[in-house]
Symmetry: C2
Subunit: 327 residues, 2 copies
């Protein structure tokens, strides 16, 4: 068996910024100081017309390739995770394969959708491909273009931002990948989503506003506040590592206070949860890869040799996935 | 290492039928005898309003569970493959988890999109989950609701039909799963698809007709006529089995003459490629699981012990995936 190791990262963030003050003027709600203090978000990035999901995904991927001087044709598998795809069909991943110049090598490329839980899930799938020995280099990309699905009238829409993050994994004889845990409860499926699809992608669906992100019933805060510690404890038990071995946790960057509370519950120092929502807003499927890239560039991953890093991601549906790697 | 074995199957097909003659009257094109003779399709199934993707997927899954008296809570992982999803987000898989009554056990559930190559790809992903020993029973479902995306004015739309197919895999100490091969070339991404998504899911996108399946440039017949033998030869070499060991091949049910030609090219008897397009039309991501279920019920899988069965699926983008199992 081979073990996946993360060897590179890249991120792409649109340059256009909307501050909380600009959001308040547009939407006619006051979101601060709550949004800055509790959520941790004081501005968001808005993709323009050219910054489509496949464009942003390809740019993040190119940066991850460039960082280690890897040629696109060395990639054996490309997985794109998103719930804001550029098309219903074909999958964005095939277009990204072409945009990064990998198509002549014909690597398999597919999309995964576990909503914003994609970050940890793609790493788990990639690691299982690498494990059997027939795939060496795997490119995983999370991309989020949720501002393109907003109505710009709800206070909660201040959460959303656009961007892409990419990681490259390669096969190693030593861990690397330790394992994963996950939970999903589809009884929450109708709470929050973009409910246009087969049978509703028509004018009646438009009149009902199904083409927009819809918050129909709020999730309780406990979903993450209790769910994340539960998954972290399961992950430690399953993968046989202790709390002291945790070097860094990349959580879904959805709410600063929740991350702080979970770290406190776990008895872990807050600085072991790298946060980027103050830089990039909430970028869904992209956020944990963007956080990894940011932590790497800040030198925070330098002294973690032998430690465990964890990606723990949550998404509507709902899904929660956690995956651990020995550095 | 554990090996995935297929232990059950189920299918769901809408009861509403449209014959070729009815299609001709609606669309004002003559499609027969070509469609019946070359494509192998003389009617199609149309899902009604209640027969949504998650409904059809759940019905196929329930039949697969019932066939072996497995309880929904025994399923550890649910993967839904479709490029005709019920929503943009959350993934259909979470809703299917709920509809089959598995949500209290909280198994991971996510969507995959490699367009109509999903059939073989989901089996490959499921097998890699089972391989590492921490997932035992995996439910894979392919679902297709493409008639909900048709304009009902093009002759090529006669191809499409709705339905769902489900397979259950379980861990075994013996193969089972032998391996997979794949190829993808994203330079074909704009040929054929449903090009509504982030940035275009708006009224301008509707006016451009992006909410409908669009054939912008035809694929050459050689994509499958040459691509399928290429993949079959690679699969035999990689997984170390001979042509004589092939018991059955389930190809994407897109064109009868192509399947016949590929079997001739390979020097294989035509009856080793089970076909169902005359019964169910073309059902994309669902078709190879529906074909397996149909072959099982016809008793065609009874005498294959020790033989190899292959799933070989193609989709727009394009993607091609082949996976082999020792029976």
């Amino acid at each position: 068996m081979k073990y996946a190791k993360i060897i590179s990262s890249g991120l792409y963030a649109p340059s256009k910024i909307m501050t909380n003050q600009e959001f308040e003027r547009l939407v006619h709600f006051t979101i601060d100081p709550y949004f800055t203090e509790q959520i941790g978000i004081n501005h968001r990035r808005l993709s323009n017309e050219e910054e489509t999901p496949t464009y942003m995904a390809a740019e993040a991927a190119k940066r991850a390739l460039a960082r280690i001087n890897m040629k696109p044709e060395e990639i054996d598998l490309i997985i794109v995770g998103t719930d804001t795809p550029e098309a219903i069909s074909p999958p964005d991943a095939a277009r990204v394969q072409y945009l990064i110049g990998a198509h002549k090598a014909e690597p398999l490329a597919f999309n995964v959708n576990a909503s914003c839980a994609n970050g940890a899930l793609l790493l788990d799938i990639a690691s299982r491909y690498i494990a059997l020995g027939d795939y060496k280099n795997v490119l995983v990309i999370g991309v989020y273009a949720m501002t393109k699905f907003l109505s710009w009238k709800y206070s909660w829409e201040a959460l959303f931002s656009d961007g892409a993050g990419a990681l490259i994994l390669t096969a190693s004889d030593e861990p690397g990948y330790l394992g994963s845990v996950a939970r999903c409860d589809g009884s929450w499926w109708y709470n929050w989503g973009i409910y246009m699809g087969a049978g509703t992608m028509n004018l009646q669906g438009f009149e009902r506003g199904l083409h927009k992100l819809d918050l129909r019933a709020a999730y309780p805060a406990t979903v993450n506040e209790e769910g994340w510690p539960l998954l972290l404890n399961r992950l430690m038990e399953k993968c046989n590592f202790s709390k002291d071995e945790i070097g860094m946790i990349f959580f879904t960057q959805v709410r600063k206070k929740t991350i702080q509370k979970v770290m406190e519950t776990m008895g872990l120092a807050e600085e072991k949860a790298h946060m980027i929502m103050h830089k990039y807003g909430y970028t869904g499927s992209a956020c944990v890869y963007m956080a990894y890239d940011d932590a790497f560039d800040e030198g925070k991953l330098n002294d973690l040799e032998g430690k465990v890093i964890i990606f723990l991601t949550s998404g509507v549906g709902y899904q929660q996935v956690a995956v651990a790697f020995r550095v």
